[in-house]
Symmetry: C2
Subunit: 223 residues, 2 copies
């Protein structure tokens, strides 16, 4: 793989975090090297795909041996931009928002909850997981002072669009949308959507169809 111009396909990008998690696990148990085949097993994909995916990062493997776990871990973290923390703001402190704020998994992986915002006066001022809930209107100052890069939308669907716009105005360029609504934003803003009901409906479809082919969804590695 040439050093210049190595655009990484979207499908590969979506798998890198999965490999990353496997590598962390391997590093924890002090495994020094890993072959594409074993990594593929762990990640639930096939070996050729692993090799091609990793080759986009560079030729970091050793033929006849495999990949150095620590080294690959470092390179992949760097590529994913995980050598630094990315504070997030969660908008909407309902059931889901509170759960996300309390969910330690984000902070562990470099995405500390830097701020919580809502519009409900009863919620503003309360403290969740050590973070005080602020009013949505304070978003610009919060983003600036806490260096927030990512916005998480956990509001009701009706509020999602306007909250998203306020996030973008405040300088946020990446949004994770948990609300069941389609956002219309400047294409420059990165948006990803997680819709819990949609996932269940997809399962429902395959179940109806005499348990047809399911498992592998269109979105990266499953199982």
């Amino acid at each position: 793989m040439s050093e210049q111009e190595r655009r990484i396909p979207e499908a590969t990008v979506a798998r890198l975090p999965v490999y990353l998690r496997c590598l962390v696990e391997l590093a924890d148990e002090r495994t020094p090297t890993i072959s594409s085949e074993r990594l593929a097993d762990m990640a639930g994909v096939n070996a050729a795909k692993v090799r091609k995916d990793l080759s986009y990062l560079g030729s970091y493997g050793t033929r006849g041996v495999g990949y150095d776990v620590e080294f690959l871990l470092y390179q992949m973290s760097r590529e994913l931009g995980l050598t630094q923390d990315w504070p997030v703001v969660v908008a909407g402190v309902g059931n889901l928002g509170q759960a996300l704020a309390n969910y330690g998994g984000f902070t562990d992986r470099g995405f500390p909850v830097g701020a919580l915002v809502d519009v409900d006066p009863d919620k503003v001022g309360t403290s969740i997981a050590g973070v005080i809930v602020r009013h949505l209107d304070e978003l610009p100052e919060l983003v600036a002072s806490k260096g927030i890069a990512i916005g998480i939308i956990a509001t009701p669907p009706t509020a999602a669009q306007s909250v998203a716009e306020k996030m973008v105005e405040a300088g946020i360029g990446s949004i994770l949308n948990f609300s069941p609504s389609v956002l219309g934003l400047d294409p420059e803003v990165s948006v990803r959507k997680v819709d819990l009901a949609v996932e269940l409906q997809i399962l429902s479809f395959y179940r109806r169809r005499a348990d047809g082919p399911a498992s592998l969804g269109p979105d990266g590695p499953q199982r």
Copy 2:
């Protein structure tokens, strides 16, 4: 589209729930018909894709007019298997599990929480959102008595695999996995995975890359 043999591509299946939500919205505001173009706008995709997707369900449109909202809504619900409720069991009553149990969005869309299970004696016996938490060992009876079809895994990653296996043994054929772990199960079982940290890491990647092309993830419609 011929009446026989109309296998629906996975990519289309993943979009149907999005169209469905748009149609529900349209029906609520008493819109009688909708064109592929307007539906495409609402769903955040292009019109040709909408028409091709809908054509897999049958020729339900009227040329020069569009699609009858109510009729299409019915057909799509039927195709997705949403004319009946699918009770779910949530395994793991931590932050996420509790939030899911309290989250009304599931019940509204035909996926009532039929049971909650955990292994922590402190949690078993408590009541969340009107459902009593039972021990994981009771899963087979719960599945049978409540007619549970779908299992939701909200346990720590270390427990996910064994919980998933117990679900399958208990007769569950569809699993939604929120834990950050790769499940290895009989391929006949439908599995979908939602990993919150992975989504953030993908956003992190695109942010690092000088705000390159993001937005459209590999998994169906975003924004």
